[in-house]
Symmetry: C2
Subunit: 321 residues, 2 copies
């Protein structure tokens, strides 16, 4: 369930481009107007706006946003306005080029591979090649140590069947295989990687349920019992992103807010990438998991146009379109 609110009928891309152009001109930028337009358009509409704006004014909308704005608001609204495949390719590249590549960085790749549809994942791989002159997989091999490398390579290379096709027999037999791997502490076993990177998401959810049914604990708990290394942590993210991405993204928002200061990059990523997918569900899970309101917590940690923009994507922005 998306949190994004789009007006009905939606204005033409030409009208939207004119509003944006006007917001850029004059003394200072009219940030409120940028939020009112861009914060209420879905990815197809934003694509049309980018193209129309370019045609009308012979400049890139993204470049203009970059030169007009600054700080977290700029980062968030550019992340939102970009082509989603290019956006994710860039997020993946930032993760892989980070000096420290912990779970916080590498989970971005898991999100792209496990919490989006197979055609989007392929589009990200295409965009990665175009933007960075090599395959996403080459950069994973070059920069991620084993055994995480093998797991991530399998996941980002997947092209899963995207309809519901569940076999209870497969669920049981593969839950058993996963249990054996956990028992023998061989979480990087080829069979585990194959199960997680070739099966469709519905089958995998059934397999996870079967694991719980057979062994009396959740798969997350099973993995935790195995150890506290990076592989265990990353596998837990995989299980969440496959099993209930809304819980994972609720946690990303929570982690970005907790402690001193805010991790705006993670907060932006969670809200921008999920506003058109399942951010309403993530809000619900957030309340469930943390006995706190996601909206209130975001409001408490942000301010000004940045706050208004995030709240708009959360479906709670300033009134009017």
């Amino acid at each position: 369930m998306a949190s994004l609110k789009v007006p009905e009928p939606v204005p033409s891309p030409t009208l939207d481009s004119e509003r944006l152009r006007k917001a850029f001109q004059g003394l200072g930028t009219d940030e409120k107007e940028l939020i009112l337009v861009l914060g209420h358009r879905n990815s197809k509409q934003r694509k049309e706006i980018r193209e129309t704006y370019q045609q009308l004014y012979k400049e890139s909308l993204i470049d203009r946003l970059y030169s007009e704005l600054s700080g977290d608001f700029r980062n968030a609204i550019i992340l939102w306005t970009q082509d989603p495949a290019e956006r994710d390719a860039k997020l993946a590249n930032v993760a892989l080029k980070a000096r420290r590549k912990g779970i916080k960085q590498l989970q971005v790749l898991v999100e792209i591979a496990c919490a989006s549809n197979p055609n989007h994942l392929v589009a990200v791989r295409q965009a990665y090649c175009s933007l960075f002159g090599c395959s996403l997989e080459e950069d994973i091999v070059a920069s991620v140590p084993q055994p995480l490398r093998k797991l991530l390579l399998g996941l980002v290379s997947s092209y899963r069947y995207d309809k519901v096709a569940i076999s209870l027999e497969v669920a049981k037999s593969e839950a058993t295989k996963i249990h054996e791997a956990i028992n023998t502490k061989k979480l990087d076993d080829d069979h585990i990687i194959w199960i997680l990177s070739t099966r469709n998401l519905f089958q995998l959810r059934e397999t996870f349920a079967s694991y719980k049914h057979l062994y009396g604990i959740s798969l997350e708990q099973g993995i935790k019992n195995c150890g506290k290394g990076d592989l265990e942590s990353l596998l837990t993210v995989v299980v969440w992103c496959i099993g209930s991405p809304e819980k994972h993204f609720a946690k990303v928002v929570r982690d970005s807010i907790l402690g001193f200061g805010t991790d705006e990059d993670s907060l932006n990523r969670a809200i921008v990438t999920r506003a058109e997918i399942d951010l309403l569900k993530a809000r619900f899970e957030y309340a469930n998991m943390y006995k706190s309101s996601l909206d209130d917590d975001v409001i408490g940690d942000t301010s000004g146009d940045y706050r208004d923009f995030l709240m708009t994507l959360l479906g709670k922005g300033p009134k009017g379109f």
Copy 2:
């Protein structure tokens, strides 16, 4: 270099559909006319013909071809007329469902993964999901034994960078890694699979050249020295399909013709799948490798409309379009 010959200007899909329809009607089918039309159209034009024919006559062109024709000619012309991604998905499925899955069957997967462009490979994976209700990778895991499984999974999951980007340093270092794997007889080492399934084809050709330069023998010879098992055989196909697909397909044609009887399935596959890509080169390599004419050998092993059709795809069919 394609062998296919297309008339200039090309007739409209409506005109072509009308000619095909007429060829189906009356006493007996006019096979010559089917060859003249379909055997001289590229994949984009055949797609338009399929769509236009369906619209005009409310029947599938493929179904009509199936009901009008028979034998090897039918198989060849249907293989040619189908959507290339669906065709390859079906070929992959036949290979995976074969009772005996030797190199002859599994090399079909290597051809699709290593001798076509990355977008075609993705389209094949999409078509496989649509046609067979599961991912291509799931069927590989279910039906191919180790260590071939791991190699094939890596290759079919690849999305290679498709422009020329070569590093001599990478070529040397990865040639050395391959040499180590050959020396220790660990050809299914993860590093080898990663090299072969993540690097772009231009880089891999440089790496193969580097291997020859460093160790004085070709990589094929190195692999052969390692043993005569299935993995060695399949890896040799991989090296050929990456290094010089035209040689590989010349060999497929040769193998299909040699000995008693003809292996029409392999002959059809080689000619149909490469007529728009590199069949002229394959003909040249065939002459080079076997001191014999590919055209003459195909003519010697086939007859009638079947022969005329294959020769048309080879650019040597009956005169006229």
